[in-house]
Amino acid sequence: MISIRNVGKRFGTFQAISDVSIDIQRGEFFSLLGASGCGKTTLLRMIAGFESTSGGQIMIDGQPMADVPPHHRPVNMVFQSYAIFPHLSVRDNIAYGLRKQRLTRSRRYEMVEEMLDLIKLPGYGTRRAYELSGGQRQRVALARALIMRPKALLLDEPLGALDKQLREQMQLELRALQKSVGVTFVLVTHDQEEALTLSDKIAVMAAGRVLQIDTPAGLYETPVSRAVAGFIGHMNFFAGKVSRPTPGSAQIEAEGLGRIEVDAQGLRQAHGAKVVVALRPERLVLGAAPPEAARNVMAGTVLTTAYLGERRQHYVKVDGMAEPVAVSVPNQQRDGQHAVEQGQKVWLTWSDDACVVLDHA
C-alpha cells in the first residue's frame, strides 16, 4: 500500500534518514519506533508530503509521490499538537476538508455527526477548540482526518501529550477504531510499550536507519541486533565466542553463562566469531538453593531489588561480569514467599531456547 524505497533525507550536512525501505500493507497498524531524533517523524512527514526526499521513492497505491504536493496526497495526518483550528467550531474543524467534495449541507452535517459518534463526542459539534480537553482534541483531530477516507492515516505521537491513564485508554480505543474503520494506520512513537500494544508491525529506527521490521512478538523474542534487543524491553547481555568443534554442534563460551549449547543450524556465526548472548530477565529462573539437575546455571549474590507491583526485578552480581544480571520474578503471592534478601546467594537457571545470539557490535 505504502512503499518506501531506499529513501534518504539530508538537512545540510546532517543525514536525517539514510536508505530506508519499508512496505506497509493495506489495513495494517504500522509503527515507526525510535528515540527522539532517529528520523521517524521526518519519515512520516515525507509520506504526508511536508518534507521532500533527497533520494529514493515513496509510492502510495503504486503511485509515485515525488511530485504530489501534500494537498493532493491520499493520506491524512493527526499532528502531534493536534492543530485544531482555533477559530472554528468542532463541527467546522471536522468538516474542513469536505469543501472540495461539493456535498449538500445536510449530507455534510450527517457525515460530521457520524464522525462525532465514532469518536464518542456526540453533541460536541458547536464547541470551540479551547473548550476541549487534550483527549477530546485528539479525537477531533482523528475525526477531521478520518472523514476524508484516507488511504492511510498518519499519526505523529498522538498520545504523547496525554497523561498515563488517558493514554492507555486511548491506546485501546485507537486500536479498536483502526480495526473498525479498516484504514491503514502509520504511527510514530518513542514509547515501545505503545508500539507493542497497538501495532501489527513495527519498524525500529535509530540514527536515520531501520534496524528491524517485525511483529511485536518477533521484535521482542528474536531481535536481530543488540541495538533492537536493548531498545525493546529489558535485556541482559553476555559477551561470548562461538566454537564449532564438529560440523553438527555449536557452543558458545560466554562470560557469566559459561559454556552453552546452541542450535548449530540456527547459528549464523562462524567458529571463533565474537557474539553477544541476550537473555530476558523474565526468562531467568531464580532459586535460593543450588538446582539439582540443570544444565544452564550461574550463581551470584543479590545486589538490589526493585519492587514493580506485578513483579520484582532483582539485580544479581555474577562472578566474571561487570554489569549485574537482571532477573524478573512475578509477584504471585502476596508477600513474596520466595522473596530473596539483599546479599543473599542465589542461583539462576534458564532453558536453552531462552538465549538469543547476536553479532558483537
Binding site: F50, F79, A83, F85, H87, Y96, R144
Partner: protein, 274 residues
C-alpha cells in the same frame, strides 16, 4: 492571612503611585478640552463661561476640512501600506529561521528611538537630492517610516504565536496555499491586522514633524493647527480642534488595543503595547 495571593496582595502605596502617574500624564492634556468650552479668548483661570462657539466656528472654515481631508487620505494610505509591509516582515521574522533576525528586528524598530526630526531632515535631504517635489506623497513616505515599528510590534506576537502545523493541517486536508491563507492564516491573524491598521492611522493622523518637513504647501491637520497658532484669536478654536483629535485618537487606539488582543493566549500578549 491578607486577602489575595502572595504576588497579588493589595498595596496602597503602589495604588497611590498609579494615581499620581496618571495625573502627571493626563492632567496637562485636560487643559485642552476644558478651555475649548470656555467663552473667554485667553487660557487663564478663572473660566469665564460655557460655550460651543469655538466648535461651531470650526464648521465654517474651509481650510480645516481641506486639512482634515489630507490627513485622512494620508492616514488611510499609510495604515494600509504599513500594515501590508508589516505582515510580510512579521511573517518572515517569526517563520523563517532567518539568520540574524535579532539585529534585523533591531533595525526595523530603530525609528522608535531615533528623533523624528533627524528622520525628517534626512528624508527631506534625500527627496531634494532626488528631485522629488514635496507633497502628500512624501509625507506618506515619512509616516510609513514612523508607523512600521508599531505595525510590526502589533503583528509579531500574532505570527509568533501561530502554530505552523495549522497550515500543514489545512494542506493535509486538501487545501492549497492560497485557500489555506484565507481559511486559516488570515482569520487567526486578522485581529492583529485590524489593530495595526487603526494604530497606524492614528499615528499618521497625529504626526507633525514628518508632515512639517515633507509636506511642502500641503497641510495635514496638525500642520494646520501649527499654522493657526500665530493668530491669538484663533487659539480657542484650535483648542477645540485639538480636543476633537485627542478624542478620536483615544477611541481608535483603545479599539486597536482591544481588537489586537482578541484570541491571543495570555502568554503572547506581550510586546510594547501590553
Amino acid at each position: 492571612m491578607k486577602p489575595g495571593t502572595y504576588i497579588s496582595q493589595p498595596n496602597t502605596s503602589l495604588r497611590l503611585y498609579a494615581v499620581v502617574f496618571m495625573l502627571f500624564i493626563y492632567l496637562p492634556l485636560l487643559i485642552l478640552p476644558v478651555f475649548s468650552f470656555n467663552s473667554g479668548l485667553y487660557v487663564r483661570f478663572p473660566l469665564e463661561g460655557f460655550t460651543f462657539n469655538w466648535y461651531l466656528a470650526l464648521l465654517n472654515r474651509e481650510p480645516v476640512f481641506a486639512a482634515l481631508g489630507n490627513s485622512i487620505r494620508v492616514g488611510l494610505t499609510v495604515s494600509i501600506l504599513s500594515t501590508v509591509i508589516a505582515v510580510f516582515a512579521a511573517k518572515a521574522i517569526a517563520r523563517n529561521r532567518l539568520p540574524g533576525s535579532g539585529p534585523i528586528v533591531g533595525v526595523i524598530m530603530l525609528p522608535l528611538v531615533v528623533p523624528g526630526i533627524i528622520f525628517g531632515v534626512a528624508l527631506l535631504v534625500l527627496m531634494s537630492r532626488l528631485g522629488v517635489p514635496l507633497s502628500l506623497y512624501t509625507v506618506t513616505l515619512g509616516h510609513i517610516v514612523v508607523c512600521l515599528p508599531f505595525a510590526i510590534a502589533t503583528l509579531l506576537p500574532r505570527f509568533e504565536g501561530f502554530d505552523l502545523s495549522m497550515e500543514e493541517a489545512s494542506a493535509d486536508l486538501g487545501e492549497n496555499g492560497w485557500i489555506t491563507f484565507w481559511r486559516i492564516t488570515f482569520p487567526i491573524v486578522a485581529p492583529g491586522i485590524v489593530a495595526s491598521l487603526l494604530m497606524c492611522f492614528t499615528i499618521s493622523f497625529d504626526e507633525f514633524i514628518m508632515a512639517f518637513f515633507l509636506g511642502g504647501t500641503h497641510a495635514t491637520l496638525p500642520m494646520y493647527i501649527w499654522g493657526q497658532l500665530r493668530f491669538p484669536t484663533q487659539f480657542p478654536s484650535m483648542l477645540a480642534l485639538s480636543s476633537l483629535i485627542i478624542l478620536t485618537s483615544f477611541i481608535v487606539i483603545f479599539l486597536s488595543l482591544w481588537i489586537g488582543r482578541i484570541g491571543l493566549p495570555k502568554s503572547a500578549q506581550s510586546g510594547i503595547f501590553k
